[in-house]
Symmetry: C2
Subunit: 338 residues, 2 copies
């Protein structure tokens, strides 16, 4: 089957320079795939030309005259930017002209526009943002990462179902274990919502492991970690921040003086292997899961390699029939939970 | 002035082997300090002897016949372990026989016992757990790290006051900046409590910076980061977990084969400098702040170096009159906030 991915070509910190180059690189590495670049026609044509390419059967342009800015209020983006590259890309999905959509733009606006245009899957109250994080044992799907500040126990259960489905469909895990993020040895283990969610998860068809703590994420204790969007967002950003600082420290120590610079040459292959192992670009692409359509959010600061990873993730979700699988599983859960 | 620190000698994963050795090392590096080791007399005497020491004017023993276990329910620890090393150490503080208390035991139990025995400072509803984390620019006080799951806006304001006081008194910062942990570009920026807390912080005498995100912590954007205990606990444990995994990766890459092992010898000074810079033991010792007494919680797995850091932290809080300063500042805030 041919997969068509709509790309918000104007989104992200680097815009067309990254999105167009990543799209072309992706096409080079795949067969039976098409890309629709959404944005200002002239700008897209210029970016294609700069990359030594042009419109073709596999790379088409869909015109959009507006751009959602990175700090635009989502409600305003819905109301005032009906012809934005982000909105038009999501519309292509709705119209069945694309199988998935990728954007590196404003997260809140992408979530709001996608929810408004596509609606949620039956049985899903609110969509969530899910990402795959690297762990010592492999990888773990974590959700929600910021779409839902206050979550009900029922929503946390739904996140568990959606996360398990992603772990199965995209990461190829059979009966993935699901953990509920909680805090440890302290007086009261979690609030009432978390306690109730644990009961719902235990009673569900999921392979529920139980409560997990912050350090279980990178240990790889479970395949899926469920949490509310406030906690998940803080978790994601603080660990990203720490990883960045640690990489900076390592670089600084190796460039401190002549001696350390020499040792950096000797240690280069090791440092390179280390960097490859912790490179966040390999995991770029968060899924807006629970929608009637596959929407992947790339990091705003993504480079070509990272943005191509997000495109690949979107295509993999199409190939593996993630939407249908989640729908089936949610239907099964409802019978069980009710 | 002579400072006396009461140490829960039985607490922590390694118990006496660590607590006694750290106490002796601390005494060696300071003048005018005394330690009271609280625990089973025979066991403490044996641990002192093993470290080539004995009871003296500077190291005394206070007998306690019970031990609070690491997974014991706090309520049970209060009711059934009235002669535990933890409880007796906190009692010494209450009785004025010690100026501060340090324990590596069960966090929930230490918080419950300390609150029950010492009570909170006037104007403080609930104590918090505060730690100093290393950042690119220096260090940041983060609180609460797990004592309070559900926090009111008023409590978050009080955390701000207490955190600012710690940053001033212990870390020597003049008019420290205070940030409120929140999530970024998403639709609704934080829940109602966080929004209300921002208003209270803005109206306070504090040097309020505004909202900060997870990655601002390690960037060192502000001197104090305020959050609820659920978020703070996840944040602390997930970043600890990530740092541990990254250190493991680095070790693994350097010991992969003969060539990488040789390069590890060349790079050893650099790696050592890097490790020193990210060594969490330098920051061991979380303050249970807001109580009528100075109680410092060491990481349960602390080694001698780390536990000594926690003792130093407790002593520094005594020297700098943290309690009185917080009390004064809270009194000032109430006038302002009302």
């Amino acid at each position: 089957m041919t997969i068509t991915v709509a790309i918000d070509a104007m989104g992200g910190d680097h815009g067309l320079a990254v999105t167009v180059a990543a799209a072309l690189s992706y096409l080079k590495h795949t067969l039976d795939t098409k890309i629709i670049l959404v944005g200002h026609r002239d700008a897209v044509v210029r970016a294609l030309a700069a990359a030594g390419s042009f419109e073709s059967e596999r790379v088409s342009i869909q015109v959009a005259t507006q751009v959602v800015t990175m700090d635009e209020a989502p409600a305003l983006a819905i109301r005032k930017k009906k012809d934005s590259s982000m909105r038009v890309a999501v519309n292509l999905l709705k119209e069945g002209r694309a199988d998935a959509c990728v954007s590196a733009g404003n997260t809140g606006a992408l979530m709001a526009i996608s929810s408004f245009v596509l609606k949620t899957l039956p049985g899903i109250e609110r969509p969530a943002i899910a990402a795959t994080l690297p762990t010592y044992k492999g990888q773990t799907v974590v959700l929600d990462l910021g779409a839902n500040i206050n979550c009900s126990a029922q929503q946390l259960l739904q996140f568990g179902v959606m996360g398990a489905m992603l772990a199965t469909a995209v990461d190829g895990k059979d009966r993935p274990t699901v953990g509920l993020l909680n805090i440890g040895a302290e007086a009261i283990k979690g609030n009432d919502v978390v306690k109730e969610a644990a009961d719902l998860l235990r009673a569900s068809h999921l392979n529920f492991y139980g409560n997990v703590e912050g350090d279980d994420i990178f240990k790889g204790t479970v395949d899926v970690v469920v949490c509310d969007g406030f906690t998940g967002n803080v978790l994601l950003k603080s660990t990203e921040g720490l990883a960045r600082i640690m990489a900076t420290y390592l670089r600084e120590e190796f460039s401190r003086n002549l001696l350390t610079k020499v040792s950096s040459i000797v240690a280069r292959p090791v440092i390179r292997a280390f960097r490859r192992r912790v490179d966040p670009r390999q995991y770029n692409g968060a899924t807006l899961v629970g929608l009637r359509g596959i929407v992947v959010k790339s990091h705003g600061s993504a480079d070509v390699f990272a943005f191509e990873t997000a495109i690949k993730r979107a295509a993999a979700e199409v190939t593996n029939g993630v939407l249908m699988r989640i729908e089936e599983m949610i239907a099964g859960q409802q019978v069980n939970v009710a």
